[in-house]
Symmetry: C2
Subunit: 82 residues, 2 copies
C-alpha cells in the first residue's frame, strides 16, 4: 500500500484536544476510502501538522481530510525512506 | 527530549542510495550535538524529505544537517501528536 505524508500549514495554536478531535474525525471515515492514518505531528507555533498514512492514492487522503473539515495543503507520496 | 520534524524541499529525484548516504552523514555526527535522527521519508517527485528527530534544540538539528551538506528548509518543534 502506498504511503503518504500530508502537510497542513495553517493550524497555529492547535491544542492536543483539537488535534485529537481532528484525527478522530479522519479515523471515523478513513475506511470508506481505504486510508489508514498512522500518526500526526503538530507544531502549534508554526501551525504545521504532518500526517503519515497508507492509502490507495493521494486523492483518497485528500478526500478524507476534506470531508473531515481540514483539507491538506500538500500531499507527498513517500517512495523512499531511511 | 524535544522532538522535531524538519523539511527539505529541494531533493527532486532523490534515490534510495542518496537518501541513505545523506542519512548516514547525519548519523555519523549527530552525537556531537545530542541529536537523534529517527527516520526520513522522501517523495522524489515533489523533492520533499521529512526527517523526525529528538534533539536539544532546533538549532542543533539545523547544525547537523548543515554540516552534513544538506541544510533543512524548515524545522518544526513537535509538541502535539495524535
Amino acid at each position: 500500500m502506498p504511503e503518504f505524508m500530508d502537510v497542513h500549514t495553517n493550524m497555529v495554536g492547535v491544542t492536543p484536544e483539537a488535534l485529537h478531535e481532528a484525527h478522530q474525525g479522519d479515523l471515523a471515515i478513513q475506511g470508506e476510502e481505504g486510508v489508514d492514518f498512522k500518526q500526526a505531528w503538530a507544531d502549534p507555533v508554526t501551525g504545521h501538522v504532518f500526517c503519515l498514512s497508507e492509502a490507495p492514492s493521494a486523492d483518497a487522503v485528500r478526500r478524507i481530510h476534506e470531508r473531515a473539515g481540514h483539507a491538506a495543503d500538500e500531499v507527498h507520496e513517500i517512495t523512499v525512506t531511511a
